[in-house]
């Protein structure tokens, strides 16, 4: 009973104590809870203290924090925050809201408990603190519309919540993301939120999100800065070149795109030393090596921006990351003909490390590599070099014990010393016989660099007369000549050729030239070339042969021909000659010489061929002859087969005819233009004449002669046209032509005879002086009969014949001519001496121009006196005469004039034209006049027939004129 009483008492005490505990605040409960906001970061910041915690007391506690949105019952976040609390300590805790804080009210409360890990079952939570309300909307102001969050920074791929707060419920508000309308969720009548998932980077200046009232100008928005994700640095490494500085490099990766809003930094942290440095550059950073000879380094490179942090680590030994600096002071000493000593220095690494240096020697197209172990100074003897050769040597070094990186190369050039030429020049000759002398052209090839051992300055040529050993001739030819010409007599000479540089002379090349070339009796063979050259072979020569030489011309069509040769050993009987100069379609001629032990070359064989045969490029110029009605002959004597691009094997003669039939010996061929013709084939290339027979007379043929070779025939160019003559024409020509000739000859003879007969028997104007009849009469019948002299005639009347040309009648018609007689002499007695010879204007020819007064033209009156008066004026007369008023002699019919005796008298004024008036009227107005001519007295002598037809105006003796 006593025990049970004690237990009951304790239980009561415990119950009383519990009641006391529950009625008062629990010790260490949170108190003084204050909530602040950070709109930029959308954070709620809580600050509180712990009740009744002693100053020196330290207690591990857990705080449970509840956050509600819009109303307290809508708890959206519960979190236990554990921390060690010291006495009087202000505690802090932050919470970032996904929804902008401005968009809704938030309520926060918390409670605490002692967080004793040993007795978790003894955790007693304190009472909840009262709800702390956070309402940012009250402080926004009075603008009608707000959009949140402002200027938020997020990474691409993030989820973002946007909201707007409207002051008026009546407003219909639309929100857009880069112009695309968003669908939202209404939180309360004035607030809507929009969840953006997996936002993308659009531009460096951010993404525009805006809301506007549908019926109004209000627009509000935010810029959401979306950053690309900060990448982890790549290829992070560190190295030293001087054991004083570590140079660390890395690849920062792609840009975040928001360098202004979201700057990123790179930090280097070394864990052993605990040192940290902020790198100034995006991709590299320098680190000072610790003076206390720290060998191991553990670096952490951290790339960081507001949103993300990325780190990479490396751990290394400093001596394993040595990147030596390039060697320096590279020199060459003791440079000789074949050797040189190369020296260099390396930068000091504290003399603790050995460097491995690599030397590369470039020369003569080769690379030789040497490895040298170096402490401070490097040295290497380069041997086996070529004389007078430029070499390039470069050296680089690396840590010999722990290779990390080679240094950069350091390069230097040097040239070895010259030596005497080591080889005799390769010499050949061309011998021509000119006027009893041997013209020897010596050719030699320039020595290669390896053979020359320096710059060749000149070539010495010694000509030794083998018949007179004492007769030496020395010739020096300066380089770079490669030929010289010698004129020697028809004896044997030995020629020595040496090349010389500044150091010495090469061995001599010996050649013997005899007076007899001996090239004539070797037959030429054909060889077939390929793209790789000509494969030549020859028969081995009995006896002592020191070698063979194959000679050819690279350009056989050129006058200089570019002579080439090739030396071959005595046991060689074949070779392939190739040259870059060989061209298709060019015939190359090869000569193979054997060289005797006396160094005398003699021709063994001749070869000719093409590297590639081409079809003949042109046709021969054909001359046609002996054309008959049944055949003709074609010849092309001047066609050279040697200059053709292939070996000509013969010719094709094509003959086209209308008949189209081919006679035996020819075959039908169809040309490229589908025309059909007959083809004659000539198999002998030397046959350059062909008779085309079996032709038809008076037929048209066309022919073409074209060569052919193994690769084709010549071009089918223009055909030559020919027509065979008539079969009988030659015979007719042979008969008729002589007949015509004979007839013509007879006709000419008859004509000449008739002329003679006419002259003798019936001339047109009989000449009494020539008349043999008269002389016969005179001498036999009446000696008093004489021939009347024209000087005895005195003209007394001029008959003017007025002919009316304009009437259309012939001027010779009798009724048209109305002669008018002008009586020149009143009395016959008063006239003495020869009368004037006067011509008058014949008005018959100028009726149309009779009105023109400017010509001095006077119409002819019908009455004689007035005409007389006119004619007495000598000036008028001469003026009229001077004009082109000349009647044609032919106007008088021969028959008429032969019946008249014409008496011609001299002009009373003058018969000299020089005395004519000097200013005759202008001729252009007198173009219708015909000139009449005054015949000088001297010319008026009696003549056989000329005087009888002088003029149509005749001076007739009175009473003796006829008409």
């Amino acid at each position: 009973v006593r025990l049970s009483n004690k237990v009951s008492f304790c239980f009561v005490l415990l119950f009383i104590s519990l009641l006391t505990f529950l009625s008062e605040p629990l010790p260490w409960a949170p108190e003084s809870l204050k909530v602040s906001i950070n709109s930029t970061h959308q954070c709620l910041h809580l600050q509180w203290s712990v009740h009744n915690l002693a100053y020196h007391q330290e207690l591990k506690m857990v705080f449970q924090i509840e956050i509600s949105r819009i109303k307290t019952s809508n708890v959206i976040w519960v979190e236990n925050y554990s921390t060690t609390v010291k006495g009087n300590q202000l505690l802090h805790w932050s919470w970032e809201s996904q929804l902008p804080l401005e968009c809704a009210k938030h309520f926060i409360r918390m409670r605490s408990a002692v967080d004793d890990a040993t007795t978790p079952e003894q955790r007693f939570w304190s009472n909840w603190s009262s709800w702390e309300e956070v309402d940012v909307q009250n402080s926004l102001g009075h603008e009608p519309l707000f959009v949140f969050p402002k200027d938020k920074l997020v990474e691409e791929g993030s989820n973002v919540t946007i909201c707007y707060v409207s002051r008026s419920q009546q407003n219909n508000i639309s929100c857009y993301l880069e112009g695309v309308r968003m669908q939202g969720q209404q939180l309360d009548p004035n607030v809507s939120m929009f969840n953006l998932h997996n936002v993308a980077f659009i531009r460096e200046t951010g993404t525009n999100i805006y809301c506007k009232v549908d019926r109004g100008d209000d627009i509000k928005g935010i810029v959401l800065f979306v950053s690309k994700i900060l990448e982890e640095p790549k290829d992070f490494s560190c190295e030293t070149r001087d054991f004083q500085t570590l140079s660390c490099t890395w690849d920062p990766g792609r840009d975040t795109g928001l360098l202004k809003q979201l700057p990123q930094s790179y930090t280097l942290f070394e864990s052993f030393s605990g040192k940290k440095t902020l790198c100034k550059h995006k991709g590299w950073c320098n680190w000072q090596v610790a003076p206390e000879s720290q060998e191991m380094y553990n670096f952490t490179l951290t790339a960081e921006n507001y949103l993300r942090k990325r780190s990479v680590h490396i751990l290394f030994n400093l001596t394993h990351r040595v990147h030596p600096m390039a060697p320096f002071n590279v020199l060459f000493k003791d440079v000789s003909v074949t050797n040189a000593t190369m020296t260099w220095k390396v930068h000091s690494t504290g003399n603790y490390y050995t460097l491995l240096c690599q030397v590369e020697l470039y020369g003569e197209g080769k690379v030789i590599q040497h490895n040298v172990s170096v402490k401070v100074n490097g040295e290497l003897v380069l041997s086996g070099l070529e004389p007078d050769t430029e070499y390039s040597a470069q050296v680089r070094c690396a840590n010999a014990n722990h290779f990390w990186k080679w240094s950069e190369w350091t390069r230097q050039n040097f040239t070895t010393v010259e030596a005497a030429p080591s080889e005799a020049p390769d010499v050949w000759r061309n011998v021509k016989s000119v006027q009893g002398y041997c013209v020897v052209t010596l050719f030699w090839k320039p020595l290669s660099r390896l053979q020359a051992n320096g710059e060749i300055l000149f070539y010495n040529i010694v000509v030794e007369d083998l018949d007179r050993p004492s007769g030496l001739q020395l010739l020096s030819v300066p380089a770079p000549a490669n030929r010289t010409e010698l004129t020697l007599d028809q004896r044997a000479y030995q020629i020595h050729v040496t090349a010389n540089n500044s150091v010495g002379t090469s061995p001599a090349s010996v050649l013997v030239v005899s007076g007899d070339p001996g090239d004539e009796e070797v037959e030429e063979e054909r060889v077939k070339g390929t793209e790789d050259g000509f494969s030549l072979s020859w028969k081995p020569q009995p006896g002592n042969i020191t070698g063979y030489i194959v000679e050819w011309c690279d350009r056989p069509r050129d006058p200089l021909c570019d002579l080439q040769w090739k030396h071959l050993g005595p046991n060689t009987t074949s070779t392939v000659i190739s040259s870059d100069a060989f061209r298709p379609g060019v015939r190359y001629n090869f000569r193979i010489y054997g060289i005797s032990t006396e160094m005398v070359p003699y021709l063994l064989e001749k070869k000719t061929g093409y590297s590639q045969e081409l079809a003949p490029s042109d046709n021969p110029r054909v001359v046609m002859s002996n054309l008959t009605s049944h055949s003709f002959t074609l010849s092309w004597k001047d066609y050279s087969t040697e200059s053709q691009p292939s070996f000509i094997r013969g010719y094709h003669v094509y003959l086209k005819s209308k008949a189209g039939q081919c006679h035996p010996g020819s075959e039908k061929a169809v040309l490229s233009d589908d025309s059909v013709c007959c083809k004659y084939k000539i198999d002998d290339p030397k046959q350059k004449m062909f008779v085309v027979g079996n032709l038809q007379p008076e037929s048209f043929y066309e022919f073409l002669v074209t060569p052919y070779s193994a690769v084709g025939e010549g071009p089918h160019g223009a055909f030559t046209k020919v027509t065979t003559p008539d079969e009988y024409s030659p015979m007719l020509i042979r008969i008729i032509l002589p007949m015509i000739f004979c007839i013509l000859l007879i006709m000419i003879l008859c004509y000449l005879k008739s002329q003679w007969m006419k002259e003798k028997c019936y001339p047109d104007i009989p000449d009494p002086y020539k008349s043999s009849v008269l002389s016969l009469i005179k001498s036999k019948e009446n000696p008093r009969l004489t021939i009347m002299n024209i000087k005895d005639c005195v003209p007394d009347t001029i008959e003017v014949v007025n002919k009316h040309e304009g009437t259309g009648k012939s001027p010779t018609e009798p009724e048209a001519a109305k002669p008018t007689y002008l009586y020149l002499l009143p009395a016959e007695e008063s006239y003495s001496g020869p009368g004037p010879c006067i011509c008058f204007e014949n008005f018959t020819y100028n009726q149309a121009a009779s009105d023109s007064a400017s010509c001095g033209h006077v119409p002819v009156p019908t009455k004689a006196p007035s005409q007389l008066g006119l004619l007495t004026s000598s000036e008028n007369l001469l003026t009229a005469l001077e004009k082109n008023c000349m009647n044609s002699l032919e106007e008088i019919p021969a028959g008429e004039s032969s019946l008249n005796y014409v008496s011609q008298v001299a002009s009373p004024v003058s018969g000299d034209k020089s005395s004519l008036p000097t200013n005759p009227p202008q001729p252009e107005l007198c173009s219708e006049y015909k000139m009449q001519m005054a015949i000088p007295l001297g010319l008026a002598a009696p003549s056989s027939s000329g005087s009888s037809s002088l003029s149509s105006i005749t001076l007739l003796d009175e009473g003796e004129h006829y008409h």
Binding site: Y176, G179, I202, N208, K212, D217, I219
Partner: protein
Amino acid sequence: MGTSAEPHSLVLGLLFLSMPAMGSCSDKYPELLGQLQKQADFMQHTNTLLDLYIRSQGLDKNGLKEHCRERPGAFPSKDALQRLSRRVFLRTLDTTLGQVLLRLAALEQDIPKAQDLEMLSGVKLNIRGFKNNIHCMAQLLPGSSETTEPTPTSPGASPSPTPTLDTFQRRLEGCRFLHGYHRFMRSVGQVFREWGKSLSRSRRHSPHQGLLKGARRMQLSGRNKRLMPRVQLAPGSHRGAPGG
């Protein structure tokens, strides 16, 4: 658009900077007026600045670009400019462009691309050259050293908007400002064009063509600044013309 305007801006910038660089102003009034007019005409084109800004800031979206309109009062209106005397007009222009330069420097912070920044630098160069020409033109006006008319301040052309504005609002404000700037330059060009018309009228009416130069020379010599007749510039074209 932007690429085509860039060489022009550079060329013009160099052209207009050449005079101050040489340390002297041209005394040829028509030539200077023509330069000012051409430059104003060039600067009014939105492809020299506004289009670049809209593109770089992502404002070229439907529903957004409609709000890029000049705020009333940000820049003097055309009517207000036409009412000003020539001297006051030039001073207003100079002051406004100075504020534009300050504002452009602020806008530069929001332009990340180096290419766009280079173009913006060309625009600033143009404005500085234009201001130099304004200075030279002011010297050509009679009574340049004695006039003390007050310079009316541009009501809304403050160097930068309120710093508390968020990026979006600042972006829109920048766009509106640039819109107003181009409109302002268009009005300026029209005013200069009117000056040119009045000059042509005065030339037709006056047989003495060298009066302007003569006036300039006399003005520079400082003997009689009132010798420059109003008829040479724009007879009766402005109520507040100098000397009147």
